[in-house]
Symmetry: C2
């Protein structure tokens, strides 16, 4: 299994179909392959050899597409970096990965000098933005135009394909090593599990291309034929306009993105009927949001995926389950060839209904963390990847996430799963979004604390919150204190930054 | 990737659903898994250890299902043998594979003594047939009932899963080594290519379970949930009755089977509307037959698969292409992650339209021939499996089979592809089935010779045949001589035995 396969296949099957669209720039499959072969030639000229890393830090663009294929074609490893990161974090990841080349766009023009000064391994900084290239950078299009195309190095199987940094917001970023085989196994296993990317569809790439979720959709659509439409950054207007203009059939979104689309005042003025499929995940999804999207987009299949960079797609909850309003709180069942268990602290499987840690093994699992044998050994025990997520199986094998183990609150000796409380609280009419954390408390050990962002013109008190939650779930799970924020702190991939909330609210 | 996964998964997801049906015998998933774990225990008791081979020679039965999983569960390799073989061929394959246990049914009761006498490696012969067990055999059900269930040995990845003997009719049978990974990769790649086995369907297993084609459908249906209905041996009545009775949604058939169903006098008296999907392949399919089946089964998607034991599914021609009557003579495009090329005698890729040998590489390819390093080296060159089939790519990447290279006729210096002539001849109204071979000829080197089986009450002359063919394709391709047979000699998997025709007609 090797990832440049999709491009060779596309050239043989549909060379003249448009493959990539980015604003007013479009390339056919044959043009794209020609550019990739030239980019690989340029990378060789810049000193990139077999196994080397090549980075990109840019908003979503067709340059990502070309860089990923170009890296593999040159025999290298693609290292797309988180665009929400600080300059220090980017410098750290580039040094840690030993990337020889980095592509930057206009948003990162301001840090080029710093990259050149602080990242010794860099042979070149290449500018993929609009407007004039910053001093000290090479111009991407000139580089591609001037280079001679080279033969595909055809790395495959256990060779590294991606280095994907996670956890960067903590200062302890780890590079997750994804091989050609692990990426393709995850993708094939997911596709076999039912409703997913379809042949000859149009996939909109609005989720960030440094994230495994967007990468799987990006690749699957090519393997099956179809068009890729790159959207630099998410906004509800961008997404709706793109869906209408290009007849988008599928995309991957995080719940907050779906909510912002469905609640947008101009929702009704766009034709979104081409949209057959939304894959969503990456954070807990309130039932109220699912009800909303099924009402607003009645023709769209919803597919929940659960997984992480280290594993690709682990579980799938398919469209039909959504329409039947069946098991909506579950993340679904393990995808077709994924092995998944719930284990206790000693690694022994627990019976259905019992919460434990979700672990998984198989060809879909990462090869380890780059240059971090200790962290790798911690994450992989006897071949099982430790997800760090708590959850349980029901009697039909559906997985229910209890919580990130580190997000579990122990209050008065009771385990409180923040995700459960958040799911209830999200249904409160005044609440636009919410998070629940544990804060130190002299009486309870930890106390349940709610953070909410209110809908326009609404207000809420801690008593309102307590009684709303207590009417629905056990009283000990109800928040005992409340913060109201204007905006929820989020990661680049749409997850609530609980660590940041804890630091600011609980002082730890 | 490991093959007992489907059973574990089934037990978790749908333990109480009926999984296997064989006549009046039915087992749920949980019952089936329990029996498999016991059978594995029994195999251990009989001396079967990690990596050992366990054989079965029987008409299709749920015992195949149990034996395959039981072998893997015990850490062993499943070795299902061709039921059309002579006793000598079966003895050869059992000795060659070193199988420790063989399961036989009533059709092979008569050779038990010979197996015991001539196969030294055998620890036990187990009887899976009806009626009284022959002397010297163990009774399958007693063995399973008496055994203690054991833990799954969970062989996986590059471990051997199947030993599948091919070419047995020639006396030079080779054991094709299929690993857990190669089997699953072929299956996932195929499923991703579109219309195929569907979730919660009912698969009828009427094609022989010693053949890779039937095995892939058998496994896919389990992984996706659903029911397996075993039919001991194919007849049009059996097939139609089973489809009606069990609401069969899919099956794999060879072209002659499809023809016999569609032309059966009782065709109209069965309800076949549940049948959504027929996968077919294994021999050339005349356009006239495809037209017939699309007319007779208007609700059924036809999917052509091309491949061989050594490779699993290589190419797929999907349902929509059939309905659009598009490229029907092609075998389709390479399945999603399969790498396929057409090469010349030196192994160099040839341009579209040029005939060469079809070669393939990737995780779907066999690990080699059992105990035959020389044959393996001949078949695998620089990682590419040499299929021995001649074919070409068109300008959309569809594969067209010219011929088995050894079946190509060179007549008067021109290459004649027997498949092309057969496709034309099959459309002759008097012809029920046909084959075309080359026979030695003093004038032409080889001359094109047709063998036909006539429809009832019809007759045909060599002049009829020549003029019918010459009206449709180049004159040098028209047969110069003709044999009329009552029945076409076929292999157990429905392929015309050209070697036998050559021996009897051309004297070689």
């Amino acid at each position: 299994m090797y990832l440049t396969h999709a491009l060779h296949r596309g050239v043989r099957y549909w060379p003249d179909r448009v493959l990539t669209v980015d604003g007013d720039r479009a390339f056919t499959t044959a043009e794209s392959a020609e550019r990739v072969a030239r980019l690989a030639g340029a990378l060789h000229t810049l000193g990139v050899h077999e196994g080397d890393r090549v980075a990109i830090v840019a908003l979503n663009t067709d340059r990502h597409h070309e860089l990923f294929f170009g890296s593999w074609w040159a025999g290298a490893v693609a290292n797309p970096l988180n665009t929400r990161w600080s300059a220090a974090e980017i410098v750290y990841a580039l040094n840690d990965s030993g990337s020889k080349v980095v592509l930057v766009d206009e948003a990162f023009a301001g840090i080029v000098d710093r990259l050149r000064a602080e990242v010794d391994c860099l042979e070149a900084v290449v500018y993929v933005g609009r407007g004039e290239a910053p001093v000290g950078t090479l111009v991407y299009d000139d580089l591609v135009a001037a280079a001679e195309p080279v033969e595909d190095a055809r790395r495959s199987g256990d060779d590294l394909a991606f280095l994907l940094y996670t956890g960067g917001t903590t200062g302890n970023a780890k590079g997750v090593m994804i091989t050609h085989r692990s990426f393709l196994t995850s993708l094939l296993s997911y596709q076999m599990s039912g409703a997913a990317v379809r042949a000859d569809g149009v996939t909109m790439l609005t989720g960030p291309l440094f994230h495994i979720g967007a990468l799987l959709g990006w690749y699957a659509q090519q393997l099956l034929g179809g068009k890729l439409v790159f959207v630099p950054t998410f906004s509800p207007e961008n997404a709706m306009r793109t869906i209408q203009e290009h007849g988008v059939t599928g995309c991957a979104l995080v719940p907050t993105m779906i909510q912002r689309i469905c609640e947008h005042p101009d929702f009704g003025s766009y034709d979104l009927t081409s949209l057959e499929f939304i894959g969503y995940g990456a954070s807990a999804t309130p039932d109220s949001l699912l009800a909303l999207v099924m009402e607003k987009l009645p023709h769209t299949q919803l597919v929940h995926v659960y997984g992480m960079t280290e594993t690709g797609v682990l579980t799938v909850l398919n469209g039909p389950d959504h329409r039947a309003r069946r098991k909506l709180g579950s993340v679904g069942r393990a995808s077709s060839v994924v092995e998944l268990e719930i284990v206790d602290a000693e690694g022994r499987p627990v019976p259905p209904g019992t919460v434990g840690q979700i672990v998984t093994r198989g060809d879909h699992v990462m090869a380890g963390y780059w240059n971090k044998p200790e962290e790798t050994a911690n994450a992989m025990r006897n071949g099982w990847l430790q997800t760090g997520d708590g959850g349980y199986l029901d009697d039909e094998g559906y997985v229910w996430i209890a919580d990130r183990l580190k997000d579990m609150i122990i209050s008065g000796g009771e385990n409180v799963y923040s995700a459960e409380v958040e799911n209830v609280l999200a249904g409160h009419p005044a609440v636009a979004s919410c998070a629940v954390i544990g804060v130190p408390d002299p009486e309870w050990g930890e106390r349940v604390h709610a953070i909410v962002v209110l809908r326009p013109g609404q207000s809420v008190t801690i008593d309102d919150v307590r009684s709303f939650v207590k009417e629905r779930i056990a009283g000990y799970k109800a928040p005992r204190s409340l913060s109201i924020l204007d905006e929820m702190p989020m990661t680049g991939t749409g997850k609530v930054l609980k660590r940041e909330l804890r630091a600011s609210i609980a002082g730890r």
